[in-house]
Amino acid sequence: MIELFPDLPVGYLVMLGALLIPVVPRRLVGPYMLALPVLGLVQLWSLPLGHTVDLSLAGLEIQPTRVDRLSRIFGTIFHMAALLGALYALHVKDRLQHVAALVYAGSAIAAAFAGDLISLFINWELTAISSVFLIWARRTERAYTVGLRYLVIQVLSGVLLLAGAISWYAETGSLAFERMELSGIGSWLIFLSFGIKAAFPFLHNWLQDAYPEATVTGTVFLSAFTTKLAIYALCRGFAGTELLIPIGATMTAFPIFFAVIENDMRRVLAYSLNNQLGYMVVGIGIGTEMSINGTAAHAFAHIIYKALLFMSMGAVLHRVGTIKAAELGGLYKSMPLTTVFCMIGALAISAFPFLSGFVSKSMIMTAAADEHYTITFVVLLFASAGVCDHSGIKIPFFTFFAHDSGKRCKEAPINMLLAMGTAAALCVLIGIFPDYLYALLPHDVAYNAYTVTHVVTQLQLLMFAGLAFGVMMRAGIYPPELNAVNIDFDWTYRRAIPALWSQLRTGLVVADQTFRRDYLARTASLLVSGSRETYSPKGRMGEPWATGPSSLIAAVLLGAFLLLYYF
């Protein structure tokens, strides 16, 4: 096969191409944006496995591209996500968003092919810097501050990565990005940097903080790249690190509580994103060929159905202007197609058989069971039920059904419908023909998701979760407390175990808020509030001193130096 642009690092086609968007004639912007990821994908698949691009930068040998099976599957899905996102965003007039989104996608792709830590770092930071514009593009004061918080955390992750890379270089003399052990300062710094991006527990707040604040189309891009890039990096660098198993298990379980009480639908999805990442992190931690395959497959399937869910919620936000559960309901009459697509996505994330989530998640579960991680397995099982509850039922139910909010609007724009339709079709296709996905995986493993045990177990789980939801809804008194239901979805629990639950809930909400808002805000503005007084032009250090004090300091310093040299 002919190699297309063999010397251009993978991902740069999209990234550099995006920079030309401002000068493309207006009518051609749409086709041009769609062509970039397609071209990139063609380029990727024209390159043979083992293909590398090597450069020398500042006396260091760096490798911006290394094609192997792990990077190829992530590269493929990133390209597809970029294409879906671009299609979804076609109606947007703001070219700044287009440039930012595709530079972001391109740098994420490039990062997935980085063969050394420096190229990884460069693209790591590029994803951070380009993606923040998707938040700022909302052009509200709130989006600006949220964006700043997001940026600080992301850049911090990059700086940790750089520090780790340099220490790693000092320790081992190599910059190659390969599997590494958690020993020595370098690998720990790198691990921490990946952990921030992968939204490990207690490092996760930036995600729920920022994603719901981005533009309608921006969130779709955000949900696809940043965290999955971190998953890829963990897969490459820390496969089989046992520490990841408890971390991942925690990630699957704890966001469920927050997702259940949350009112903003896009924030619910952000929490469920966190939960999904947990499965992948567990898969990386187990580290067998089966579990790595499971992680890669789950990332692949997850990007599509998560994007689909964010797209459907974005379509609602676009048409209705709000995404608060309490203000929505009954929209299936106005947006029937969006409803169908959303439900496919919701069923896929719940791992319903014959949909994509089922064929990928079961691999991780099987790997956990095979390696006898019993507790982990149980936690994952519990989390599966939770996912079904908040993403599978809550999202479509409160948005499109529940009580009728009386809101009537138009169906989503045609390009949004096309993007959602494609994504929904992919969810179904992967679910029915999983072998095409399995063929892409990093390792050759014969695996069949459709055994009787798998299907029956999963169906039981889903039915049970559905039943629980149904019973809870039935048990309530509708009209007067309707609003409360929609806000919190917790009134049945409250009736059953009132005191305990309300305390638990208050605690959760407080903890959530403290972490998400105050904690983040405080880290970001710790310096700001404290040092403004000192360093502003009116402050002691920010204002130029008069000549007198300056001369005095010179004299004092002379004395100090003389003393130093005297002894």
Partner: protein, 490 residues
């Protein structure tokens, strides 16, 4: 002709200055200045080439042999700094070659060009000379002309800023002179090579210790090492932006060079770091500069002052590299000399473009200019990225060596602090980006700056990217200079 090249390098700007003042004709002086700038660059480049191809050049001025006569010595380090200074001079002079660039009242341009040329002569002289007292003479030439340059600003407060700079500068110069005096008393010579030879046996002499103390503080003052930096923000903020571009990119750089010469050539690293323990004082001061400078930059409301405080922080990086006393550290410091000259020169020129159209450098007045002046704004953003140290810009190269130097000596804390202070740079650069791109413009009908201003700006800004990718010239030269200095000193 090539034999007298070292003398020509100095005489060219030195003699052109009075011609400018005598001619008084705006166009003639303008062209002469630009010609001298590029001529200096050619001479410096040739000197660097000669220094690289063989042994250091020794040139006896007027044919009087040292130690009595004055000697010019050009080794790799000298050539490197000469090229930096004259590159900046050539580009900035071209920028100022239009009346618009200089932002000066008509009728006083010849004074401006004269002072610029004198300043250039002083800076080149300080670099090239191998005679300690001669350094002082050139130091005063460059300082006096820079006081005049700052005082030329149209800002009503410019003369006051120039005056307080004059006082601080004179204190620095006096300390330096006292130090030279003590050294002369102890060694009986003013020639640097001679001094170094005789000092080897005088390491216990109190006179030498005192001399070293005066020299350290005097140079630190002129270099604007924290906490002796306070003259700098005022001076750079009040001067016309084009003059700030020239001074910030050259004056402090040459002072850094003189400090390096003093430490490694005259006193020797063993004496400075081993016996005197200068690094014990220099490291905390450098760290202080990095953080105080960056923090102060974050909260400034005037763009020129913001850049000036950022300079204070960048000087901290350079002195930190120096105090590691290792090849990598000194390479980082010297590479940053060139890199910072490029980015700060370019950034100040971009500010000059903005000021030319808007008439103010207050951040409030620059709101939304990203739309009206996209090319200038892009230049500022690129320079800002270099300031942060983003890879593929020069800023990354120097920080790489500094962090490497910190790690190889096991000082993980310093490595962390260097990276942390880069985060502060992100903050102040992004503040400007936010003002330029995300605020509503005050007056939407502002036009892009003229090409004659954009071209020099982009030469420097473009160079920050080019040399960020091709590092043989900067890092390679800095490395061989560092090795030469450390080899000579120990």
């Amino acid at each position: 002709m090539t034999l007298h090249l070292p003398a020509i390098a100095i005489l060219l700007p030195l003699l052109s200055a009075p011609i400018c003042v005598a001619v008084r004709h705006a166009l003639v002086t303008r062209l002469l200045t630009v010609a001298v700038g590029w001529g200096s660059l050619a001479v410096s480049g040739e000197l660097l080439r000669q220094a690289l191809s063989g042994a250091p050049i020794h040139y006896e001025l007027g044919g009087f042999a040292p130690p009595l006569g004055i000697e010019y010595v050009i080794d790799t380090t000298t050539g490197y700094v000469l090229v930096i200074v004259s590159t900046i001079a050539a580009v900035v002079f071209s920028f100022g070659a239009t009346t618009r660039g200089a932002a000066l009242p008509a009728g006083r341009e010849h004074l401006y060009y004269g002072a610029m040329l004198l300043c250039l002569a002083g800076l080149l002289g300080m670099t090239i000379t191998g005679d300690a007292f001669n350094v002082f003479v050139f130091l005063e030439i460059s300082s006096l002309s820079s006081y005049a340059l700052i005082g030329l600003g149209q800002d009503r407060r410019a003369p006051v800023a120039a005056f307080s700079y004059l006082i601080m500068g004179t204190i620095g110069g006096t300390f330096f002179l006292l130090g030279i005096g003590f050294l002369y008393q102890a060694t009986g010579t003013l020639n640097m090579a001679d001094m170094a030879e005789r000092l080897a046996s005088l390491h216990r002499s109190r006179t030498v210790h005192v001399a070293f103390g005066f020299l350290t503080v005097g140079l630190s003052l002129k270099l604007a090492v924290f906490p002796l930096h306070q003259w700098l923000p005022n001076a750079y903020a009040r001067a016309p932006a084009v003059i700030s571009a020239f001074l910030s990119a050259t004056a402090t750089k040459v002072m850094y060079y003189v400090l390096v010469r003093m430490i490694f050539t005259i006193f020797g690293a063993t004496f400075v770091f081993g016996k005197m323990g200068m690094d014990m004082a220099l490291v905390p001061l450098s760290l202080g500069a990095m953080f105080v400078g960056s923090l102060a930059a974050i909260f400034q409301t005037d763009l020129k002052r913001l850049l000036a405080y950022s300079s204070v922080a960048q000087i901290g990086y350079m002195t930190l590299g120096l105090s590691f006393n290792s090849v990598n550290g000194l390479t980082g410091g010297l590479a940053h000399l060139f890199n910072h000259a490029l980015m700060k020169g370019g950034l100040f020129l971009a500010v000059a473009c903005l000021v030319y159209r808007v008439g103010s450098s207050r951040l409030d007045d620059l709101a939304g200019l990203g739309k009206c002046m996209p090319i200038t704004s892009a230049a500022f953003v690129t320079g800002g990225l270099a300031l942060i140290g983003v890879p593929a810009t020069v800023g990354f190269i120097s920080k790489w060596y500094l962090v490497l130097a910190a790690l190889e000596t096991g000082q993980y804390l310093f490595a962390g602090l260097i990276l942390l202070s880069s985060l502060l740079a992100v903050a102040y650069v992004l503040r400007v980006v936010e003002v330029l791109y995300f605020k509503a413009p005050k007056s939407p009908d502002v036009r892009e700056a003229p090409v004659s201003l954009l071209l020099p700006t982009w030469i420097l800004i473009g160079a920050t990217v080019v040399f960020g990718l091709r590092t043989e010239l900067t890092a390679g030269l800095a490395r061989s200079a560092a090795m030469q200095l450390l080899g000579a000193g120990s």
